[in-house]
């Protein structure tokens, strides 16, 4: 079995999570080759073949051209699987590649299943489905964190790769993350607000628990999107990645993007009405309760 792994670059550097592709390949027991649209500075510690397309010519984000580059490597390598990370780059490019090659795509794979199947989440991570693609090659995207990052070691054999065509998207540049508000990465205790608190007016109740615990207040994405709290408070893949000694998740169901940003916390308490919420999978303690009843009672007892 052979895998073509698609690395991901930003501003000339290979993004760290690209090494999870090697972790997946190792579990699958497969041969590998890699494609990177980047520069010499983006080469991984890997002894296999790396097809390198020049980011100066093809851009770091130019999916109309990148899909042609993937196609060109697929014609040379004839892989069984073309593997991306399930990221803003991967979920954008993978369906274009699958459409171009007229082959199946399976999104956000979390595990290999028996008989050539793949396990993937559904229903906002609450459930799992197993699916089987029909035909090859198969385009896959992998959920971040589902497979361990692995640096195979060695020096790659670099093969230049080119493709013809016009891109229809004009990339105008990156905009750095907004960094206002508190630096949650340094907090020892974080009490985070989720949609389960019900309304913006309830946030002071959660903030009071944070105060009593000597911690900071964080937020889940829906709370920021609804304008209840600033983007600077957001914990997760698109916000801050935190690892306090104690993380208290108040009314947070636990979207994968949130879990990735807080699951390395020392001790995790989740307060949620829904016992089946995905946050339960990473919590040390799950309090099954209405957050607006439980939190004031907890704060009152702690303040004594």
């Amino acid at each position: 079995m052979k895998l073509l792994l698609i690395g991901e670059c930003r501003e000339g550097k290979l993004l760290e999570y690209s090494y999870e592709l090697f972790g997946f390949a190792s579990q699958a027991g497969a041969e590998t080759a890699m494609l990177i649209v980047g520069g010499e500075g983006a080469l991984p510690g890997y002894g296999g073949t790396v097809y390198l397309a020049d980011a100066g010519k093809y851009g770091e984000y130019n999916p109309d051209l990148h899909k042609r580059l993937v196609q060109a490597v697929v014609e040379r390598e004839r892989p069984d699987y073309v593997v991306f990370m399930h990221t803003s780059y991967g979920w954008d490019l993978a369906p274009r590649v699958a459409a171009l090659l007229k082959v199946p795509q399976v999104s956000e794979v979390v595990a290999l299943a028996e008989g050539g199947g793949f396990e993937r989440p559904c229903l906002s991570q609450k459930m799992r489905q197993v699916v089987k693609p029909k035909g090859t090659p198969v385009v896959l995207t992998l959920q971040g964190g589902a497979f361990p990052a692995l640096v195979p070691g060695g020096t790659p054999q670099v093969q230049p790769i080119d493709a013809a065509g016009e891109g229809r998207l004009e990339f105008l540049g990156y905009e750095a993350a907004a960094r206002k508000g508190v630096d949650l990465t340094k907090a020892e205790v974080i009490v985070s607000v989720g949609r389960g608190v019900g309304k913006k007016e309830n946030i002071p109740v959660i903030a009071e628990l944070a105060r009593v615990l000597g911690g900071e207040v964080g937020a889940s994405r829906p709370v920021v999107d609804s304008g209840w709290m600033d983007a600077g408070s957001q914990v997760g893949v698109t916000g801050q990645t935190v690892s306090p000694k104690l993380y208290v998740a108040c009314g947070i169901s636990g979207a994968i993007q949130h879990l990735a940003g807080m699951k390395k916390s020392g001790f995790i308490v989740a307060i949620n009405k829904d016992k089946e919420a995905p946050i339960a999978g990473v919590a040390d303690v799950l309090v099954v309760a209405d957050v607006m009843q439980f939190v004031p009672a907890l704060t009152a007892k702690l303040a004594k």
Binding site: Y61, H86, S88, L246, F267, L286
Partner: protein, 258 residues
Amino acid sequence: MKILVCIKQVPDMESRFKPDASGVWYAETDLAFRVNEYDEYAIEQAVLLKEQLGGEPEVTVLSIGADRVVEAIKKGLSMGGDRGVHVQDAAAHLKDSWQVASIIAAYAAGEGFDLILTGLQSQDRGSAQVGVTVAELLDYACATTVVGFGYADGTVTVKRELEGGVKGTVRLKTPAVVTCQLGLNQPRYPTLPNIMKAKKKEVRVIPVAELLHQDQRVAPCEFRAPAKKGSAVVLEGELADQVDRLIGILKDKTAVLR
């Protein structure tokens, strides 16, 4: 200008899910359905653009599924859509993302839409494939994961949300497909007069057989709860008792409480 908004009706995510008779997807019994959250941003963006252009664009709201999805279409119309398209398919859940995209593309091919808006993904399947694949099939430009949107003279300028809080700005020309990420705008609540008006708007019904000409590429074969990896201590019961037990655990297991 013609705008198409593709929406899906999905179950409330706080529900408890059980396999259906086929064993490959969820049973619909006892579930409440609503508009896929990501698609609400797509509807709102279409209506905002219609307002920006003085009401000139015509906004079509499309959904595929059983008769229940007409409720979702009506919501889109009450938010400001002009007309609905219901692709009638009682077995929509058994189509893969490729087939769903092919159905939408087969409908849109003859309609000359300038802009197609949809959610980044559905909350139930979550493949994030359909929008991009529609663009590929129609040979439209496509930008995904959009948290900022501007339009002027046939050019769309978007901000894409990348990892680590970084955004990437991208410009593309219509015809185009744009997939909407959470937080793109503030989806409006339909007003009562607009809900009444929506009842009178046209919803065209098209049987799926007229639009589906592609075979499945990915077969679903199992549906279940994730293996329990959680070692969480679960505290249930009386509130006061829960509080005492949690404080006991925190004193025992963390250095935070002294």
